[in-house]
């Protein structure tokens, strides 16, 4: 199989994408204004949606584009959160720079974890990432200064005096709690926009093309000079950074941490996987659609407890079996609409059908 690189350059910007660019700007502008337009509860809901979106986009990049199926991304949420707590509690750093520090430390943590997990073949990589997450959780549970196994809270004044709170109070007369909600929300909005922007640009770049080639056929990609391992390692580090930032940000808002919550497989990996799978893995639109659906479902079915998760799991299985590219993929295949056109592979390339034969 050859990869027809020249023919893949055409058609990256569609009419829909120009429209979606305008829509994106409008949404962003509206989003920035939200704290002045809607209630504090709604701002918190939006915060939740945006941070889940960041996690979903990161996991999608990792699994859907780089083929690294991790069920241990909670390690970076938890570690990012703990790093932020550490910076604030131990060094008295303001929470907002502490978030950045947490992101950087998460990316650094990804170096040793990649060193271990990249030794494991395909499916075992998944469980390997999980083990690593467990190890980090158990280690942090030993850190008594940060509350050990039971956890701890951010000092009240750390959040109340967070950078920008004073400004918002002076300018708009916001109460500290309201102001800190607004600030974390804006950060989440920026982070989500930056994450999507980064992934979009990455996928449209030469590296992104290499990534698609690796996913479609690792051998062939290697033959045309794509260093699959390096690509994957890069993506792994980048997602660790994004996930760590998101984790830290989430826990600035929660202001209370414990190892079990910060490293929860359900909250930070299972939900994220279902968001991506149901929305549409391997597309940028999928996680956006998925996270909106997820939020609606959660509000609708939150009272049903484990039934809710059970149904989410079933929906994930059914999607994987019958619409493996998710709701957005099914929609996009039918209508040809792409809001973030990065799929330019296969145009002019040879199509490989499974003729029921791997014999040749």
């Amino acid at each position: 199989m050859t990869i027809a690189i020249p023919s893949l350059k055409v058609e990256t910007r569609t009419r829909a994408s120009s429209v979606s660019r305008l829509i994106a700007l409008a949404v962003l502008a509206l989003g920035l204004a939200a704290p002045f337009l809607v209630s504090r509860g709604a701002v918190q809901d939006l915060f939740f949606i945006l941070t889940m979106l960041v996690l979903a986009q990161s996991w999608n990049l990792l699994a859907g584009y780089a083929g690294l199926i991790s069920v241990g991304q909670q390690v970076f949420v938890g570690f990012g959160a703990y790093a932020m707590f550490g910076a604030v509690i131990l060094f008295g750093i303001d929470p907002i720079p502490a978030i950045l520090i947490a992101g950087v430390l998460s990316a650094l943590l990804a170096i040793p974890t990649a060193f271990f997990t990249f030794r494991l073949y395909g499916p075992y990589f998944a469980i390997g990432t999980w083990v690593v997450a467990e190890v980090v959780r158990l280690l942090l549970a030993q850190w008594k200064t940060l509350g050990g196994g039971t956890g701890t809270s951010l000092p009240r004044e750390a959040v109340r005096d967070m950078a920008g709170v004073g400004l918002l109070r002076d300018l708009f007369g916001m109460k500290p709690a309201q102001a800190s909600d607004a600030i974390t929300y804006w950060l989440a909005l920026i982070l989500a926009a930056a994450t999507i922007g980064f992934i979009y640009r990455l996928l449209r770049s030469k590296q992104g093309l290499g990534l698609a080639a690796v996913r479609d056929n690792e051998q062939a990609a290697r033959a045309v000079g794509v260093d699959a391992r390096r690509m994957k390692a890069m993506v792994y580090l980048a997602t660790a950074f994004m996930t760590g930032l998101a984790g830290a940000l989430i826990y600035v808002q929660k202001a209370r941490i414990s190892p079990d919550a910060a490293f929860s497989v359900t909250d930070w990996t299972a939900y994220v996987i279902f968001i991506v799978v149901i929305g549409g893995i391997g597309t940028i639109e999928g996680p956006i659609l998925g996270v909106i659906l997820f939020f609606l479902l959660q509000n609708l079915l939150a009272d049903y407890g484990s039934w809710y998760l059970l149904m989410l799991g079933l929906a994930g299985i059914l999607t994987m079996l019958f619409a493996p590219r998710g709701l957005w993929g099914a929609f996009s295949d039918r209508t040809g609409i792409q809001l973030f056109p990065v799929r330019r592979t296969l145009v002019g390339g040879p199509s490989v059908h499974q003729g029921g034969s791997s014999h040749g």
């Binding site: 083990v131 158990l138 039934w307 059970l310 079933l314 299985i317 493996p324 791997s358």
Partner: protein
């Protein structure tokens, strides 16, 4: 407790981990499939045994004989209906489907049995032990270990001495050519998963009698099983037993130093092996 005693307890615990792992190892060897719901299926089997023991007053050993064929059928159906559809070059579908299954099973068990911790009562056997001076060997842990050995001997006989075992190996080598021999790979896969689930039923008996379990206990069992497989090296069931023993000993030694370190020291032993021998301690020569 002497260090010798600690090590012996670890070895016996390793037998339990090998029981967790044998099915995982078998299925991976034949179809390169990693079932992320493996641990939850162990817990499911434990609840089935519990129901028979508490509900019908059956002896747990009798109950496991009933649960084994049930789990075989469940495994066969699971593979035939669900997992066979996910097999292919792409590792994503089987992983995500079994991950979904894991969540479904956990929450179904939560609905059915609540989040309470349960235990299967084995009566007087629970406390029975053999006193060897410095070392005291509990009868149940010993039986778990011996069961692991028996399961591995049995599976190896099956794999290397029977027509079905040849079909397993042939299908693992080359499913298309196996088809030309009259082997139906999908059926072979279903039988393999069925067998793995029958072994899971045995593992469940010792899981449930040894300690408390609840509907969310599955993932940790999956991780122990996985660690035993990787430490031992892919493709060898005896390696898996050795891997389980190393994991068990690491855990009991860690716990002897500080009870909080039990699980952590098992994980660290696993990472150390991964670091020094990425292919495990006893990898199969051909792979």
């Amino acid at each position: 407790m002497t260090i010798l005693d600690t090590i012996v307890q670890g070895v016996l615990l390793g037998g339990l981990y090998a029981l967790f792992a044998a099915g995982l190892s078998l299925v991976f060897g034949i179809m390169r499939l990693v079932n992320l719901a493996h641990g939850d299926l162990i817990v499911l089997a434990a609840f089935l045994i519990l129901v028979l023991v508490n509900g019908l007053g059956l002896n747990p050993f009798l109950a496991v004989l009933i649960v084994m064929p049930l789990m075989f059928i469940a495994g066969y159906a699971l593979q035939a209906v669900l997992l066979n559809r996910t097999l292919g070059k792409d590792v994503l579908p089987p992983l995500l489907v079994t991950f979904g299954l894991s969540i479904v099973l956990q929450n179904a068990l939560l609905e059915g049995f609540s989040a309470d911790s349960r235990r299967i009562s084995a009566g007087a056997l629970e406390t029975a032990s053999i006193n060897l001076g410095a070392v005291t060997i509990g009868l149940m842990p010993l039986m778990a270990f011996l069961s692991a050995v028996a399961v591995i001997v049995g599976l190896n006989l099956l794999i290397y001495r029977t027509a079905l075992g040849r079909a397993f190996r042939a299908t693992s080598d080359d499913p298309v050519t196996a088809g030309l021999m009259g082997i139906r790979p999908r059926q072979v896969f279903a039988v393999a998963t069925g067998l793995a689930m029958a072994v899971v039923a045995i593992a469940a008996l010792y899981l449930g009698t040894r300690a408390n379990f609840d509907p969310t206990a599955g993932p940790a069992r999956l991780i122990y099983a996985f660690e035993a497989v990787i430490i031992g090296g892919l493709g060898s069931l005896w390696g898996t037993l050795a891997g389980g023993v190393i994991l068990g000993v690491a855990q009991t030694l860690g716990a002897a130093v500080n009870p909080e370190w039990q699980i952590l020291s098992g994980h660290l032993a696993f990472l150390a092996v991964l670091l020094i021998r990425p292919r495990g301690l006893f990898p199969r020569a051909v792979d």
